[in-house]
């Protein structure tokens, strides 16, 4: 297995590629540091959460019943970096992601082996409860799913009441989270309308804002843009690049360009043949995975010559 080298792809701020530029940013334009910069969105001071956490998975194996779907996956998710999980459908990316915040065990037949450490503490040990793990490691799902019975503001605050926390100034928190998710300007005048009145892209950003309100150290995203149009996708990708300054992000994506645009590091999952579990074939800095992969299977996949 390839050893992972924590080599930062970008030294300073993430490469911004925002604005009404209609062209899809290519890898080259993303990597160019002199691309037009995004004006800072946040008028509110940055959150207290300035030091992000690292998440280390070691030899993670997952089962559903007797079927082993993932075998000995080790991956270091660096603090303040975006790690993309790529690979064909059914190769265990989502299972791996769900194991990272103990959502895997919600399936009745699910089992797991190995260790996943959040800042050195195993999240499956007695030291942490599942609810604590999940409030420190947030998750955004493939399908936008704001809570239908709540208003936009209530959706943002729902994480607090759901996990029994409180906040001295809820209105400021709502504004701050919506700003960080890039949604504030669109919904500022209708915070008390239902969340379902928003468009799909706005709903997904509302879900991101909802995850941010509990100040997670890590944010997991399971194909957050697969149901969205390119414009909404771009806004969310920009949001991801802004968030990763103080939150560690792990994102599953089927979109190669997206993985190139948003991620610093990349892990390629693959199922070798039917009835075999998924494994991590290669991992490393995104630019190396996409330009100079060491494994021919990775090369085939990232260049679209798969199979």
């Amino acid at each position: 297995m390839t050893t992972f080298e924590p080599e930062p792809l970008f030294d300073a701020a993430p490469p911004p590629y925002t604005g009404p530029v209609p062209a899809v940013p290519t890898y080259a334009s993303v990597a160019t540091p002199d691309a037009p910069t995004v004006p800072a969105v946040s008028a509110v001071p940055a959150t207290a959460n300035t030091t992000s956490s690292r998440l280390d998975a070691t030899d993670v194996t997952c089962w559903f019943g007797k079927r082993k779907v993932l075998e000995r996956c080790s991956l270091a998710m660096e603090p303040g970096k975006v790690t993309a999980l790529i690979g064909p459908s059914g190769c265990g990316k989502s299972t791996f992601l769900r194991a990272l915040n103990r959502m895997h065990e919600l399936v009745p037949s699910a089992a797991i082996a190995g260790e996943i450490a959040l800042d050195g503490v195993d999240i499956y040990s007695e030291a942490m409860s599942p609810t604590e793990v999940r409030s420190r490691i947030g998750m955004v799902f493939q399908k936008p799913n704001p809570f239908p019975a709540m208003s936009i503001a209530d959706n943002v605050l729902s994480g607090l009441s759901l996990s029994g926390m409180s906040h001295e100034d809820p209105d400021a928190l709502v504004e701050q989270c919506l700003r960080r998710a890039g949604l504030w300007d669109e919904v500022a005048d209708r915070l008390h309308e239902g969340g379902m009145s928003l468009s799909g892209g706005q709903q997904q950003r509302l879900c991101i804002a909802r995850s941010l309100a509990v100040h997670p150290d890590v944010l997991l995203m399971d194909e957050p843009c697969s149901a969205l149009d390119p414009i909404s996708t771009r806004v969310i990708e920009r949001t991801i690049r802004e968030l990763c300054e103080d939150i560690t992000i792990v994102i599953v994506t089927h979109n190669m360009q997206q993985a190139q645009r948003v991620s610093d590091n990349c892990a390629f999952f693959l199922v070798e043949s039917l009835r075999e579990p998924g494994r991590i074939v290669e991992q490393g800095p995104t630019d190396r995975i996409f330009t100079n992969p060491s494994d021919p299977r990775t090369y085939d996949y990232v260049t679209g010559q798969f199979g």
């Binding site: 915040n101 959502m103 919600l106 009745p108 609810t131 604590e132 999940r134 409030s135 420190r136 947030g138 998750m139 799902f141 399908k143 799913n145 809570f147 239908p148 019975a149 709540m150 208003s151 503001a153 209530d154 605050l157 729902s158 994480g159 009441s161 759901l162 996990s163 029994g164 008390h192 309308e193 239902g194 879900c207 909802r210 995850s211 509990v214």
Partner: protein
């Protein structure tokens, strides 16, 4: 000529000729073309006259017989006409469509007929006095008297039964669908068995346990308990179905925010299912509000107004109707019909109220926090 060509010929009505602008006139394409409508009219005429002829020939006099034969001949002619003019595929499509439509119309007609019947029979006896007096001092042949005691009984017993059964039933549904504990199979089996329980058994059970063995008086409370037994399975199973319609993504999102399961259920699942849970409760009330037998066994019935649900016999509307309808004089039978009308109106009012409360609550919550 294909079907499409024919549809196009029949259905598309050319726009009105534009006089001075090139604006297009909106055209709503019609489902049934001209020929289809003529065929339906011919079939309907065939049904009405054919059935009339059969009634004359065979000397049938009942209107229902006439209606049923008219429907059969109508369906048959629809099919044959469409088969002749178009194709067997179109004909069976037409037949099924007509069948579905007539079934819907027939259901509504039966309901309307029943309500009109009750209103026509009951309305002559309805007056303010009827609603505000009871039967305590009214002899069988006297005028006057009313249903106040029965209304009081029905409302109190339904409140007691709902207060007991709806929380239990919704928690049961939560157990069945959210918690999915080890006993799920057993609980579901028991609930299913209970939903087939004859209502008189529920009445006998409470009579034996609550009145005979525990030594309590027959009362509205006892009737409420018996009715609660009848309501639980209906509400629980319907509520479970309603919980099934809630997207699993919502539960996962709530858990992914660090919520313990009970908070996810209380704050996300149940509020989202709110209108469905109200429907489930309404179905439960509908199951119980028309029951006569358990109330007869547990509250015994009474002709005077008893405001206390825990002390002494009480009546309720179905029991009132049942008891007076068996009397051999016109006044009592008239009162029974008017009582039935009051029951129907009461049910309607309760359902409308429940809907309004449910929707207003949802809107209020959506609007502020």
């Amino acid at each position: 000529m294909t079907l499409l060509d024919e549809r196009a010929e029949h259905d598309v009505h050319p726009a009105e000729p534009a006089v001075d602008s090139d604006e297009q006139a909106p055209v709503r394409p019609r489902l049934l073309g001209r020929r289809d409508r003529i065929e339906l009219a011919v079939a309907a005429a065939a049904g009405l006259t054919g059935s009339g002829a059969m009634c004359l020939v065979f000397d049938w006099s009942h209107p229902l017989t006439y209606a049923i034969w008219a429907l059969i001949i109508f369906l048959l002619s629809t099919y044959l006409l469409a088969r002749d003019s178009q194709s067997p595929v179109v004909a069976s499509d037409r037949l099924v469509t007509t069948l579905v439509w007539t079934s819907g119309v027939a259901t509504v007609l039966v309901l309307v007929w029943m309500i009109v019947f009750v209103v026509a029979k009951g309305l002559p006896g309805l007056s303010l006095e009827f609603l505000t007096t009871d039967m305590a001092s009214v002899g069988p042949l006297d005028d006057g008297g009313g249903v106040l005691h029965a209304i009081v009984g029905t409302v109190q017993q339904m409140l007691i039964a709902s207060a007991i059964s709806i929380p239990i039933a919704i928690l049961t549904a939560v157990y069945l669908h959210e918690v999915r504990g080890r006993m799920t199979g057993l609980v579901r089996f028991v609930i299913d068995a209970m939903s087939g329980l004859p209502s008189i058994i529920a009445g006998l059970f409470i009579y034996t346990i609550w009145v005979l063995q525990a030594g309590n008086q027959p009362s509205g409370m006892a009737a409420g308990l018996a009715l609660a037994i009848l309501m639980i399975p209906t509400v629980a199973r319907t509520a479970e179905e309603m919980l099934k319609t809630i997207d699993d993504g919502l539960r996962e999102s709530a858990l992914a925010l660090g919520a313990p399961q009970w908070r996810s259920v209380m704050q996300v699942v149940l509020p989202t299912a709110r209108s469905g849970l109200i429907t489930a409760s309404i179905l439960g009330v509908a199951r119980a509000i028309g029951e006569t037998a358990p109330v007869l066994l547990t509250a015994f019935g009474s002709s005077s107004t008893n405001w206390s649900p825990v002390n002494g016999p009480q009546s309720d509307l179905p029991l009132f109707v049942y008891q007076l309808l068996r009397q051999p004089n016109e006044n009592q039978i008239q009162r029974a019909w008017t009582g039935a009308l009051v029951l129907v109106v009461l049910v309607l009012v309760l359902f409308v109220l429940a809907r309004i409360i449910g929707e207003r609550g949802a809107r209020a919550r959506g609007g502020s926090r």
